[in-house]
Amino acid sequence: MNIRGNDVLRQKLASEYVLGTLKGGARRRFEGWLHNDADLRHITAEWRQRLEPMAEFATPVTPPRRVWRQIEQRLHLSPQGGWSLWRDSLSFWRSLGMASSALAALLVVVMAMRLFDAPQIAYVASLTDEKSQAVMLATADSRHGALEVRMVGNAPVPSDRDLELWAVPKSGNPRSLGLLADKGSVKLALTERALGSDVALLAVTLEPKGGSPDPNGPTGPVLYKGNWVKL
């Protein structure tokens, strides 16, 4: 059978192919024609665009969290492997060493600040980018229970992303400390999550709006990091 030139038939077959009522041999034959008939493919795509939105007539139901976890596992999207790999890599610890001179300069500033009473700075970190440029300064004020993160460099963030601050322990999952602004400074609550003696460093990752959807840690790349130093 030749259906070229018979527009009425082509429309009918394409529409019933999309709807699903074209079955068996007729369906297979139609799929054969689709292969070498670009116009028929186009007609079929148009029918899809017309009928497939019927999918949205169903009431939305939030799927259980396990569905995403399974998808993540099957596609190896889980950040877990990447995260520990990153932390354990030699170059990472080396880069922290390179940032230490920046930290020394920072300490002078912080020590000076302490003279004027005000906050009681218990911990400090200079968060640097991959080129060891300082981008943020994090200070823990134990007197006021505040964790302040001040931008000292440029930290551009796409409008559909957020920066998230993490306390990274020597082992186990990173702990979220909160979301950051891309300029100015942010005051977060200072909790045990940040003060645990096992916390080696702070890190900032790029996450979806609202922060990492994974309760076990970050999903996005590490942008900035620095030693969390007790004073």
Binding site: Q11, K12, S15, E16, L19, G20, T21, K23, A45, R48, Q49, R50, L51, E52, P53, M54, A55, E56, F57, A58, T59, P60, V61, T62, P63, P64, R66, V67, W68, Q70, I71, R74, L75, L77, D160, R161, L206, E207, P208, K209, G210, P213, T219, G220
Partner: protein, 196 residues
Amino acid sequence: MSPDAPTFDPQQLKAWLLAAGKRDAVAFRQLYNATSSKLFGFALRILHKQELAEEALQEGFVAIWNNAATYQSHLAAPMTWMATIVRNKAFDVLRRSDDTVEIDAEQFDGEVMNALKDPQATPIEALQMSGDAKALAYCMSALEGLHRQVIALAYYHDLSHSEVAQQMALPIGTVKTWIRRSLERLRTCLAKREAP
């Protein structure tokens, strides 16, 4: 992840889908967050059973990730493309399982059903769906109730003409005619709505 605030901005979905095609896992996660409740509701509508619908959704999103690089935005809206995949996976899951799905007479869920029956009382504009789906809902509301039901039976349950005929206790010739006419009417109606 807020199930109450699904994003149906096609441009945003398109951007995430294209990024997923370039292996951006964060964009893929956002695409999932924005569309999974709609697509899970759809899979549940087809399969009725929670575990089967979860399987279809999982298979669907694995295929969406694996095929995102082949997505052609000029051929299909993102929701259309993803719904096609999830629908096919749902029918695959059904064929693999020993379960038979119950087919109920009412093919649409409450609010949409009301809007299709009486758009004056339940405005289609107020429904939470994309512009494409609203246009289709408007055109389907202009069909006769039984014709609408025949189309929905075929679409949601992958039925043949004779299966629809059996289900509705109608002669197969009638079913064929109704489907053909309804599809023609939908095409004309949608074309009119698209015209400026």
